[in-house]
């Protein structure tokens, strides 16, 4: 009687572990100098320094890397946000739904989409896009923007983002860190990662 019961228990435990595995998916070391596909997309980058990939993804088509911890320096990749999708997971879909990306958006609409999403998800009215300039992103016409915000923790953070709409999908890399110490120290590493972005030809088909 004991043995079948223990097998059942072991199976149940395994099932339970499998079902909660994504929540406990560990962080992973990103090694320097190796090209790697990010955010479950065709976008690849080659970092010149080591980063830590966070186990928890902000959304289905995104991932976050950090150096010291996700509140201290966040490098987030958005790998092909499709039409009518949110930038990241809804916080409260019923009472505070997030705005959705539209493939007809202009490049100048992207910083606004990010700002509005942050304001709702972080429950803050202290968020501003400070500048927008044209740039290129893996050879595509793109927008580079800077922003700043204060979270409920009261810490002021600066951010930068680079975004392009390729084949109707949004590809974006953002970096944000506290104004004190971290942002100025680490922003060059972000610039390096953005400069290393490549798309295999298949993703560029329009």
């Amino acid at each position: 009687m004991t043995r079948p019961l223990s097998i059942v228990r072991a199976l149940l435990a395994a099932l339970l572990l499998c079902s909660i595995a994504p929540a406990y998916a560990g962080n992973k070391l990103i090694v320097a100098g190796v090209s790697i596909a990010v955010a479950k997309s065709a976008m690849t980058v080659t970092p010149e320094r080591e980063w830590n990939k966070m186990g928890a993804r902000p959304g289905r088509n995104s991932e976050t890397w950090t150096l010291d911890g996700d509140t201290l320096n966040d490098l987030t990749f958005y790998g092909g946000i499709a039409n009518d999708a949110t930038l990241f997971r809804e916080v409260n879909k019923r009472s505070a739904p997030l705005p959705r990306f539209s493939s007809t958006m202009l490049l100048t609409d992207i910083p606004v989409l990010l700002e509005n999403s942050y304001r709702i998800a972080l429950n803050t009215s202290l968020m501003a896009v400070d500048s927008v300039t044209p740039t290129t992103f893996a050879g595509e016409k793109a927008i580079h923007f800077t922003y700043s915000f204060t979270n409920q923790d009261g810490l002021r953070r600066n951010g930068e983002g680079t975004a392009a709409i390729i084949a109707g999908k949004l590809y974006m890399i953002t970096f944000e860190a506290p104004v004190i110490h971290y942002f100025a120290r680490d922003v060059a590493s972000y610039h390096q990662v953005v400069a290393s972005v490549r798309f295999p030809a298949v993703a560029k088909r329009k």
Binding site: R94, A96, P97, L98, P99, S102, T104, M105, L106, L107, T108, D109, V112, E115, N116, R119, I120, T124, S125, L126, S131, V132, T133, P134, K141, I143, T150, G154, R156
Partner: protein, 387 residues
Amino acid sequence: MRRRFGWRGALCAALIAAAPAAVQAQVVRRGLPPFAKGYEPHTVDERGMWMIADEDERKLRDSKFVINDSALNAYIRSVLCKTVGDDRCQGARIYVMRIAAFNASMSPNGTLQVWSGLLMRVRSEAELAAVLGHEFAHFEMRHSLAGYRHARSASDIMAWASLLGTSGIVLQAAAVGSFFSYGRAQEEEADQLSMQYLLNSPYNPQGFADVWERIMSETDATALGRKQRSTRYDRTAFFASHPTTLQRAGYLRELAGQRTGDDGEDRYLKAMAKWRPEFLADQLKLNDFGGTEYLLGQLAKSGWTPDLLMARADLHRTRGNPRDLVSAADLYRQVVAQSPDNAEAYRGLGMALLRGPNPAEGKDALRHYLSLRPDAQDSAMISVLTQ
């Protein structure tokens, strides 16, 4: 078994009977009112609450969300003083918070928080006076203290009832229910006292009910915009801490009677002129098309000014359905007709047309924006869009 259930049932019944007495326990008013200068809290409970409130206020004072505008702060204080009287208002410390939701609150130690979402939604001094008076009434009646004591007696009843097993569940439910209904009773009490303030002030007391009626309509509009069912206003939920908004609007209208008074609409608009565009921008970024459209309509009761037209145009352009882009372009054109040098309107018009049916005309509008604002921060980016 039957005997055991019998005594449990009897004890349960006795406790249920005792619960309403605890529910209706009133705070014994001692000595000076809490707004008196140099007032020191009595009793262990009150001292504890003030200690927590003092700590919260120290954090609040340093919060990045506080709007540090002495003129705005002085204006809100002047409205509070005209409402509750100079003797009462001086002790209150007012903090205007940059939070885009309808709210105000007052702590037991006299910290008054006013959120920017409230300042954008009220239309006159009289309406602001009604809300400030309501919060001050909670403070004057020491409602936090009474609520805390009531919650404690309700949790005592719940703890004892848990010993009764299944038959104690009814009693526990009664205790939980009494906790929330007590909150509703306090709200009504505060409404009544604040109406007394208004009736003794130069302000029109009808504004109080107007505010609640508009909040109901805005909530409906938000729900409709999100394709959700509208909230019922006529039914009190078991866990509701406030009276239903419909009840509230109804009894406030009754208490105000036929009395009218000063609305102070012009003074209010003048005092808010510097901040309204900022508060409107916060509202536009909340992804609440229905609620914002209603709100703009209410603010435009006395006419669509260029800033309100711009806000409405931006709202439509941000939602970005094909028909929204057509509406947005039309609204931007109305702004340009009223103020031909409004560069931002040309920028919005250009973007709406570029994304919508007429890209060539959109590029022309953007070029016009650049000619009006050649040194604009985004000029390089906009130039790319015109190519």
